[in-house]
Subunit: 460 residues, 3 copies
């Protein structure tokens, strides 16, 4: 099946329409929050605060920048491992994230920061918008190489919307804690993406198989993504936690979990190869599973050894997933998961939700202190009658809600994306930049990329 | 015309002389400012401050590091897109920036931090030195591939000097606000660089044409530069704003403008290609124009939708510039702008100056609050009689002063650099690392870089 | 000599055993420190502190993240310069650092943070663990390409242990100041690594000579490492300094020293080449020597011009070392130093120790103020009788202790690593990823890596 991949009018019109709509909606709804407004000087004096540092900016901005790097460089370069899809990996990730953060500022704003007719945005909104887009980047990993940028924009539009609804249900209705987003970001993002790619199943994808692997330097580019994700994950999981000890604890737990995860990923990668050799795919991905799986519990009293155990398990499970589960999903369930997000975000996300539920139900004032417990779980105000075990049950419910939203949403969005006029590439031209990008002239010899000569152009 | 490009004595002597001079001048003039001096403990106790956090270090250091990354990795890697000029792009940028920040500490110090015979340096001086060097990096983009490292050091010496004079006129005499440097950094840097490259016009540059394009992996290296510039631009525009809400607001405005700019850059890039394909040059450059153009107004009440509009326009204008203006400038005006800085820094810089002037003239105590307005524009002390419209006019004047300084300075420096003994490469050896770098041995076959065999060595 | 490099059981077992041991030890010993514990709210109220910002997290976390990037991306990518060893450089560095930080949290914790049976970890412990691993990354540079990942884990186990003992002797017994670790990290790490590689001398290493150089793109990957190390070094040297002016001063001094070092490195690199061409090895490494050499004195009153002088000297010494000393060490002393760590960490580390000793012995209350001096050197409590000259002598003693520990430790660890069952590669297969990594299929032609065809596989 050969479709028209010339996006000359579809992509520009989509981008411009979306951006015009965003300008109008921002004009109607978005204002600065009080910490970013020039009247802040007045409220500071009213509160008798003597220090400019009390501005939320100084609590969150360094974490925000780390998260920002994860979304744009981390996810973008992680996906450059494909030999001929580097432009698209980095470029389309850039495009969808730039659109997604604007739309997320609105969607999340309406749910969480809407006061007197306006959305008030501050640095915490910027972080949350990046988080929301993180879940789209996760889903992008499943469909990588098989969709057009127009499809990605459409998917982002819907996924950000669904994410915000799901997040509202979890955080505001179920009052679930999910600082690092094991459920809201990773579980939701992964199963949404897997459902979409299941709907978009391509029976002849083997025709692009030779481009679905790495070359030497593309693997090194991917390691840039891996390392920036790995290093900044403590900021990710602590970015929106409560001030003080909660942010501090979330960073420590994530640091520990990730470190343990590296050792078990390496161990399994070597053990599962007949000559004991390491596989770059595992090093690039499974080492990160520990960060996903402490997302929910990072700010809780998981304890450093608890974090190590979580990382230990996830390194093993994730590597096993790459070796056994991904081929199974493709062969039997017709789920073509390009980046193996099921192993990096799906299973670890669910593990993270479970760890969070268990840790929450074990919370007690012995461990947290009376005041500490009230602050950590918001057991005050109208939640005074709650207790830890109830919190644990709601946490567990959050996993199922996220899964349900992902599956239902993924089916609907997948069907929309299956429509034949979005400019998707033919099966034999998947994982190939030249479909959507003006390519530099290669040296005359085609030695470097012999597959090029077999590329069947699908443009009219 | 073949000149001697053997720099064996010229480059070492230039570097060593400059560095010795810097050591002497630092010895005579530079001391720590009070927040970096051990006596700080005394002044802290006098001010009854109980917290070490009131040290300026904690307000500015995270932003400083982000700006530092932009200058060295951002600009350095952005210019690695050329297939055979990666060493020079990163390496010469490294060299000129390392020299430039030292000289800028002195020049800016004499103008702004000179007390009782000494320049007092603190973290804000480090940021401003990086800013100043940013304008040199911009100008480097215009002459990239066509000059020797000795020429770059000479250019840096003069440009930093002129930058500091221009900055003094704008910030201290005209009392212009220019937090992100749309005028002082981008407009000045771009038109200075364009004037220099105009003076250095090379009629036979087409002989190096085949090396003036990218190869696959060089474009991915360049995306590292693009993304670090894009992600950290909110820090750039907010780094030296007033504490509190001004820094906060500058970050939000820049975040919004950059996001919008990505969508319109992609839209235009696709619309202007006959098959609707995207061009890496636009994605690498035009997406950043939004950051340039909110530089002046970022800390003002531009409003989030105002920022989106600025980004929207700049993505379009900048991409159009790459497609139509750059070839025109080269063919008709003999301005050979290697990186297209006119589209990324020139026009967006002027737009930024205009946006700043308009936003400033619309300022009122309704929007800012009485105290807020006084703080934002310094309408106190001897400026009590000023008003917003006056501020707007001075802002506009700043654009013209910057342009005039850039043109006059660029002509003088261009003529100096045209002297035949700086070791510049011959026209047929431009954009080629091997002129100034010891190269690794290539594999015996020359398939990878067929142009190598045609390289005419110009060394004696 | 051909050994079995199939690590199928050795690497997994080593990783899993170490990680299980770490989990158990963390369970027994590691708890959150008071700033990361939910009871922090209580202690905050007791201390009448009104601001959450007084949590240590906000003083140190941005610096921690910068240091984290240096260890994983900085050191990892710096070593990717080898044409066929990029996977191993980044991947093994990742593995050893992930193991090392966990072990360092324990070892350093027992020495410095052990209270009532528990190690209390907070953000400062995370930084110190990264520092400790930094010294292992330094030593890795000497043996790069010649050891198996199992050997690296064994080396890390011992080196972290020895590092912690040495650090305890210097910081707690000798009461030496060493904020940026010129002695504890760089001198110790470099001479430890050099001693290990001396013991592991390979007489037939010339058989791998053609892989011991760079290719074009591998040098650009290495520049990513260089630049992130260079840019974040001010954070490295200031990360654990006293709050306030000491952190501030350490950052300024390091910034100055590094800038000067770039110019003299470039000068010498060009002067020492017969055609005046620059050598990427010098730009990648010698430019960093200035950061190493201000490590000890960065927080002292070295003065900005003093920092410039230190950087000036180190750029020269380090580049000379690469040109003359490294070949001499290899030919005459049988020390095969792959990355030239002697020039980047060894000599500059010793210079740093000396600069620190001299600067400390010049300290006086004229320069520091009475309170400032007491705070800077801890001249209070039981050290009231100390003076600056005494401090200087102890500083000097610290250099010799570090050297002695490095040499004795290096010999012992080297002998252990020489045992023939760790899976080390044969001499003709050094510097080759394919020994330990599943490699992507190369294009059919071997033009790109002609050496591949000569690779003699040593697997059974």
């Amino acid at each position: 099946m050969v479709w028209n991949t010339n996006l000359r009018w579809r992509l520009p019109v989509t981008c411009l329409l979306l951006q015009v709509a965003l300008v109008v909606l921002f004009g109607v709804f978005v204002r600065y929050d009080s910490d970013a407004d020039p009247h802040w000087i007045d409220s500071k004096m009213q509160q008798n605060s003597t220090s400019d540092l009390e501005n939320e900016f100084y609590y969150r901005y360094p974490s925000f920048q780390d998260v920002h790097v994860m979304i744009f460089v981390g996810f973008g370069f992680l996906m450059t491992f494909l030999q001929r899809y580097g432009y698209s990996s980095v470029g389309f990730n850039f495009l969808l994230a730039a659109f997604g953060i604007q739309w997320a500022l609105l969607m999340q704003g309406w749910f969480h920061s809407y006061h007197q007719g306006y959305i008030h945005v501050g640095v915490e909104n910027l972080i949350n918008a990046d988080f929301c887009v993180g879940s789209v980047c996760v889903a992008f990993g499943a469909v990588l190489g098989k969709v057009s940028p127009v499809q990605l924009l459409i998917m982002t539009l819907f996924q950000v919307t669904l994410f915000s609804v799901n997040e509202y249900i979890l955080l505001s209705l179920l009052e679930v804690k999910d600082a690092g987003g094991s459920m809201t970001i990773h579980t939701f993002g992964a199963y949404f993406g897997l459902t979409v790619t299941w709907i978009l199943y391509r029976p002849s994808l083997h025709q692009s198989k030779e481009r679905q692997s790495a070359v030497y330097h593309s693997d090194l580019f991917a390691m840039i993504g891996t390392l920036f994700l790995w290093m900044y994950w403590p900021s990710f999981n602590s970015a929106v936690s409560n001030h003080g000890d909660a942010q501090h604890r979330a960073a420590i737990n994530t640091y520990c979990s990730l470190a343990a995860c590296v050792l078990t990923s390496v161990a399994l990668s070597s053990a599962l190869h007949k000559k004991g050799k390491l596989d770059m795919v595992h090093i690039q991905n499974a080492t990160l599973a520990g960060g996903v799986a402490v997302g929910t519990a990072a700010e809780m009293m998981l304890m450093p050894y608890g974090s190590l155990i979580v990382g230990f398990i996830c390194g093993i499970v994730s590597t096993l997933g790459f070796v056994y589960l991904t081929p199974f999903l493709e062969a039997r369930l017709r789920i073509q998961d390009t980046c193996g997000i099921h192993n990096l975000h799906g299973i670890p996300g669910i593990i993270g939700g479970i760890v969070g539920a268990v840790t929450a139900s074990c919370a007690s004032s012995d461990v947290y202190g009376v005041k500490g417990l009230a602050i950590a779980f918001g057991f005050d105000g109208f939640k005074t009658n709650w207790n830890a075990s109830m919190q644990g049950k709601f946490q567990a419910a959050g996993i199922f809600v996220s899964l349900a939203m992902a599956l239902v949403g993924g089916i609907i969005v997948g069907i929309i994306l299956k429509l034949p006029f979005w400019g998707q590439p033919a099966d034999e031209n998947c994982f190939e930049d030249s479909v959507y990008w003006e390519m530099p002239e290669e040296p005359k010899s085609t030695v470097l990329h012999p597959e090029d000569s077999t590329l069947k152009p699908s443009e009219p």
